[in-house]
């Protein structure tokens, strides 16, 4: 895993976007407490899946942990808006890959990579990024779809796909943990790319397990994860009888389970590659339970990947300082309109 090549194109892209910062450009840094970009999951997950005519069914699958030193690899990517310039936004992206082998956790952190996205370069950046990531031309007209607001999330999602592909290629007989679902057909998760990712993993005897931290899906009026409430862990609840195609474009490439893998109050939506036989999917989950630490049903490897990729407030300040130092930006503080208008009642983020 350490041999994973650094995405040169990604670095070049980062530098290329930073080049359009002019000396003396105004820079309004965001505070670390300002709201983060929406996550890719938020953008991807359908709100209505289990509709009335489909009548889904549930099946409890108890799990027996298998301890066999199966390699477990997790990847997570964080994106963060760092501030605004007079012509665009500054954001940073960082990825973390964590793996456990022979009872040892190890990690590789990539980044942070700062980007300067403007109205002028946003489509070019996105276009190039997709090209570098998936070696294909974009099929949609992104001029009308990519907004600066979502740009960090989109770039982060693309970077994540790139890393997922790298891991799938380099790993054999492992469990690959993703943060999110196996829903395909969105702008950043095209069906072809996602299918290719899963196929590559399958061909190398890997199993992709995608964990959704908070699902908005509801079944019989209840939140999906509530359906496992009283079951004894470790166990899965298999959900059957829902459509694979959500729309003309969107597809579910995984079987949806609710996973309660250890004691505690939490359970998660777990998507496992649909093209794997069910026994293999269950066995993979049993291997995860047997070989990884589970805290509140969440695998430690994925938890660490999240922790290592997340930006702290201090890091945000550090990146801001880096940009100011390297590009001679002039810091300005825009007045907080809410504060100006409403005084102490002007709460919430600065618009």
């Amino acid at each position: 895993m350490q041999d994973l090549q650094l995405p040169q194109h990604f670095i070049q892209l980062s530098l290329r976007t930073l080049k359009n910062i002019r000396k003396g450009n105004l820079f309004h840094p965001y505070t670390a407490t300002q709201p983060a970009s929406p996550t890719a999951q938020m953008l991807e997950e359908p709100k209505r899946l289990f509709t009335e005519p489909n009548k889904p069914t549930l099946r409890l699958i108890p799990l027996k942990p298998i301890k066999d030193d199966t390699p477990i690899i997790a990847v997570d990517v964080s994106s963060m808006k760092i501030g605004e310039t007079d012509i665009g936004i500054l954001c940073a992206i960082r990825a973390a890959i964590v793996w456990k082998q022979r009872r040892q956790y190890r990690y590789v952190r990539l980044g942070p990579f700062p980007f300067h996205i403007t109205e002028e370069n946003k489509n070019e950046v996105y276009h190039l990024f997709r090209q570098y990531s998936f070696f294909e031309q974009p099929t949609l007209d992104y001029n009308s779809t990519l907004s600066l607001f979502y740009a960090p999330t989109r770039l982060g999602a693309l970077f994540e796909r790139w890393l997922q592909m790298g891991i799938s290629v380099q790993t054999r007989n492992g469990l690959i943990l993703w943060d999110g679902s196996l829903t395909a057909g969105t702008q950043d998760a095209p069906v072809s790319v996602m299918s290719q990712l899963l196929e590559t993993a399958r061909n190398r005897s890997n199993v992709v397990l995608a964990f959704t931290k908070t699902t908005r899906l509801r079944l019989f009026g209840y939140r999906l994860t509530d359906h496992i409430g009283k079951c004894t862990p470790p166990c899965l609840v298999e959900i059957n009888g829902y459509p694979i195609a959500l729309s003309n474009a969107m597809r579910l490439l995984g079987n949806i389970y609710v996973a309660k893998l250890s004691e505690g109050n939490c359970s998660f939506r777990l998507d496992i590659d649909r093209k794997l036989p069910q026994e293999k999917a269950v066995e993979a989950t049993q291997r995860l339970v047997g070989n990884d630490i589970l805290l509140q049903s969440y695998p430690e490897t994925l938890r660490l990947a999240h922790i290592y990729s997340t930006f702290t407030a201090n890091e945000v300040i550090g990146i801001q300082r880096f940009l100011v130092q390297t590009h001679k930006l002039k810091i300005v503080t825009r007045p907080n309109v809410r504060r100006l208008l409403f005084g102490p009642f002007g709460k919430g983020p600065e618009s």
Partner: protein, 482 residues
Amino acid sequence: MRLYRKEGNTVQVLCFPNESVEKGDYLQVEDPKQNKALLIQVINVQFANVPGILEELLRDSTNNGDVINGENLDPLDVASQITLIQDARLLICKIRGTIQNGKLSVNSAWLPSRSQSNIKRLSTTTLAKMLKINDKLPIYIGDTKEFSPFKVDAKALDGSLNIVTGKKETGKSHFSKLLVLSLIEHGAPVVVLDLNGEYVHLGYASNGNKNQHYSKIHVLTPASNFKVTLPQIGLRVMLNILVHALNLPGTSAREFRRTWRLLKKQGKLNLHELGEAIRNLQCNHHVKDALFSRYYALVNSGFFTDNPSEAMTLEDCFRKIQTGGVLAVNLRDTSFVDRQIVVEYLLGKLVEMLTGWKLKAVFLFAEEAHLYLRETYWNDIVTRMRHFGVFTTFVTNQPDTIRENIYRQVDNIFLFNFTSEHDLETVSRAAKVDSETVKSLARDLPPQYCLLLGRVVKDFPIVVKVRALDVQTMGQTRLFFN
């Protein structure tokens, strides 16, 4: 460095790790628009309260007892800036004055600009030049943090009450010896009440050879080369010894006075005749017993003699050191009572000579004075005797043995490391700077580093590494496992 906050006379300065600043350093906050600079001193260095630092430390720490090994691929080296912020420091500083047109004043009634000010270090040497603290009679105390020699003016010790204090083995005695030798180099007479016999070899270099001070060091050892006859001592001093050192009650003291005067009148004032006179006294037997017990205490001290050739004339000794020299009274093998007797005699004689202008002034160094100085003498030394020309330096590792009313009159404090809150509290009350400065700086002083406070540094606290001396200091503790 950036000016961050000011509250009262405390200023907070943000400082990055590549800017090397330590406790005790002086900084000048230059405001180019106002064309002046605020002089501040760093009294504490803290980590800046950076948001998210806890998360970072937790992230980089161990996982279930195992260290997580990893690699960071950061081609743009953004992490260097993040590390810089993680290690950012907050300097807690005290305002000391204002520099305008190269001149230093104690004015601190203005505030420099937070956004426009430049902050830079001011070397101790530059500060010393501004303060003109080593102008006339320099005493080379030691070296500054910039490794340049630091000198104070001996005149700042003239007429002053000084305290050298710090915990054990931090260099107090060494420093007081340095002061003693420096003073005699400038021609000052010095008397040392040497509790542990540490000063007796000041005339020898560390290799055992005589040094340049040899002829100026005079050691007086009570009951050996320091003995006196009764006529030398005089009634007043003797009564002081009896009443204060030997606790003779008032009635008995009256009887003693009468006996003394009678013997003097008969020309029989000596130890033998005094004993006989007490034996033949026709008085209350309690009084007689009291006088006898004190008499034997005087005899057993060995300090008194009836043989004039054995007796030493203190006037002659003082004459030897009048143009620079040390009279070291070795109290090492002297009992508590005998020490008090010797000191009573010495101080009484000293005052007598000073009042009679037989001596101009004398610098008195008293090590652990609470072990031989009676209560009433404390005030006497720092008030009355000071006016006669006894300029005392107390050397102690127990600052609470010196009374607060004495501290109030202190001109200079030479402070070494203290860790005890109680001791720091005691000293900080006496210093002419705020207690926060004293406590914070003294707590972290390494051995041999001294915080100078008071007249010698014109009330600008300065930390100095005390220089070495090539003398046999004899201040080291005897060890068993050696």
